[in-house]
């Protein structure tokens, strides 16, 4: 995947319009985009959409099968699963986007420095990234989550750090291939500062591969976060994280399977949408496909 994207240089020539036009020709990508938009909408307006509060208990109505009153049924406290899933979209999207944001920012920064300055800085940074890469990311995330303690914010950091090296690699690759191009040489010649060159010329030129990786990265982050919640290193109750809901419903699976089916579906549809979108974006941004 990386080899693919690292080749794309100078995407900005395409213009957003062109990209969107190409994206719109891929039906799956458009479906993905639509779902993501709906999810963002759901997350923002969760308070209006959800018929109940996510922590609202009604012990008399525990374990109710899906019905008109409770679309997805209720859990062991009589909490409305539909409402919890609606609110859960907030958590998952937050974790996904912020964790990837952390990774893109940290990885991008480190990768840009490594690629731009080369030499010792490059060596040091990339070796450090190699070290992080040689620990499986889920294990690294588990270790970080354990040392920071449970909680939404810590979860974001854990997932973010464990995916940082990917972005550092991509950005470094892009920077390396751009560094000696004419427009950068020209900027240097007119005396632009390094920082200015990095910010103005280099970063915009490696946005495309980052966008693709980040879209897929959000999916991976959501999955990792759900996995951490599943093994008990995730988010505090009663916050309705999908992975935690799935994990909690596990012990009732034989009598009340819906308790695990709906959160599982929610995760899967979200990931599916992000993957469709990421695939579509990659194709749309890939100059080779113009042929």
């Amino acid at each position: 995947m990386n080899e693919h994207t690292e080749k794309n240089i100078g995407q900005s020539q395409h213009g957003l319009k062109e990209i969107f036009k190409r994206l719109s020709r891929a039906p799956l990508a458009m479906i993905g985009l639509a779902i993501v938009v709906v999810l963002v909408f759901t997350a923002v307006f969760a308070g209006f959409i959800a018929p109940y509060g996510y922590a609202e208990q009604d012990l008399m109505a525990a374990f109710e099968e899906p019905s008109g009153a409770h679309l997805f049924g209720t859990d062991e406290f009589g909490r409305d699963i539909f409402s919890r899933i609606i609110y859960g979209s907030r958590i998952s999207l937050q974790v996904g986007f912020i964790a990837v944001g952390i990774a893109v920012f940290a990885g991008g920064f480190l990768g840009a420095i490594a690629g731009y300055y080369g030499g010792k800085a490059d060596n040091l940074i990339m070796r450090a990234m190699d070290v992080l890469l040689s620990i499986p990311s889920i294990l690294l995330a588990i270790a970080i989550a354990a040392s920071l303690g449970p909680g939404l914010f810590n979860l974001m950091i854990a997932v973010g750090i464990s995916s940082t090296p990917n972005y550092a690699r991509i950005v470094r690759g892009s920077v390396l291939s751009i560094r000696n191009q004419e427009f950068v040489e020209a900027a240097k010649a007119v005396g632009s500062s390094d920082l200015r060159i990095i910010l103005k010329h280099i970063i915009p030129n490696c946005l495309a591969p980052i966008i693709v990786q980040a879209t897929l990265g959000v999916a991976i982050a959501i999955l990792t976060a759900a996995g951490l919640s599943f093994i008990g290193l995730g988010i505090q109750p009663p916050i309705p994280e999908w992975g935690a809901m799935l994990s909690g419903g596990r012990e009732y699976i034989r009598d009340y399977a819906y308790m695990t089916v709906f959160p599982g579906l929610a995760i899967m549809i979200t990931i599916l949408a992000l993957n469709f979108l990421g695939d579509g974006l990659r194709d749309a941004l890939d100059p080779k496909l113009k042929r």
Partner: protein, 503 residues
Amino acid sequence: MKGNSRTKATLLAVSAAVLLCLFAVPALAKDTLVVANIYDARTLDPIVQNEVATSGMCLHIYDTLLALDQENNLVPMLAEKWEQIDDVTYKFALRKGVKFHNGEPFSAKDVKYTVERAQTPVGSAIRQYSEVVDKVEIVDDYTVIFKLKAPFTPFLMSLSHTWGSIVNQKAVEAAGESYGMNPVGTGPFKFKSWNKGDRIVLERNDDYWGKKPAYKELVMRAVAESINRTIELESGAVDIAYRVPVTDIKRVEENEKLTLYRHLENSTSYMGFNCAKAPWDNPKVRQAVRLALDNVGMQKAVFRGTGRAPNAPVAPSVKYSDKDIPYVKRDVEAAKKLLAEAGVQLPLKAEIWTNDYKPRRDLATIIQAQLKEVGIEVEHKVLEWGAYLDGLQKKTHDMYILGWVASVPDAEFAISGVLRSTGGSNYSFFSDAEVDALLEKGKSLPDGEERAAVYKKVQERIHELAPWVYMYNEETFHGSQKNVKGFVPSPRGYHLLTNVTFE
């Protein structure tokens, strides 16, 4: 080149397929008892760990000097007779003709070695039992005298705990640091193999001095997921499944091929207050919170009618449990009044901590809702076990839910570790001179009415000062195939399987 690389690709695929042949399928013999536990023993060295999975295995490999029967009476094991000579001196007459699994004969020097080894740093985990012993004297090959540092009434009972499993010096020294994987005892079963994290296999000791098991092999499997244990039981893959989850009780009970077992544990779980922190240092505030909570109803809701809501800190199956202390009825108005008397500003913000154990999380969720009614706003924090214990030691918590097991079924072991000011697990930092003095006295009084009166007083005093709100005495469920007979689970949490037979 292309043809060549295709061959290589094929070769890769073939070699990958060959990997399949690595997987052999072992078959289970008929003369075998297969038990599913939650997790694997950590070691088979009886003094390295103090937890039930380890004890449950050691119980079968080793013998102790004395054992407890179902009614908590002492019965002879490797000691045939015993007598108390004075406050601190006990004399044991040892069984003759007993052999260790390595062929060494059992004698007094093994008892001495066992206790002295337990007092080295290897035995840190069971120090609380071994530290009461001053020294072991060998009178002759089959007579030993234990001298205690101070009078300690539950001493004989504590010898029945697996810490007192008699080991053989030669075997321990021959295995060195890997003794935990190469245990040698005098027990009804010999160690056969251990696939870590998966199963331990023991085989019958045909030279056992006592009643020999009716079956040849004991297989203890570790099946962490509780629903999986039930599934394995239903499919007949295991003969006994420990700890059937509450959600599966009906399924096992109604299945005509299975038998359900249930028993209360020697443990009490409670919601503790941090008595070292305002406003919880004020007994009135603690009593008010207790009044605001319907602990009996809560216990029923969370455990779906199983188990028991405790009325006292000592579990009912433990010696000197006080059954007369009345339950506190929920009274929101009285609670509010008490809070006002104590001068507490409402709304009061507080935290309740639990670990990830589901019933505790569920209790906290209900506590949150009930305390809101008196104006206490509670935030629930779920901490992973290590961080939880660490946090409790830092004294920053307000309320927390935890349990305490009386590892020896005597009131001393049920209270001193948690509610004496010097207790190692006193996370409510409760400190009361009267309770301390009574506990000190109770420790050395001989069993009888006077000792019973002391522990009654302790429990009443604790009830009055309310460092805890009692949450639950957990009831444990196990399942077995119908043809399994003679399985009697123990409230200690680890169970003797030697007497099990197949019908």
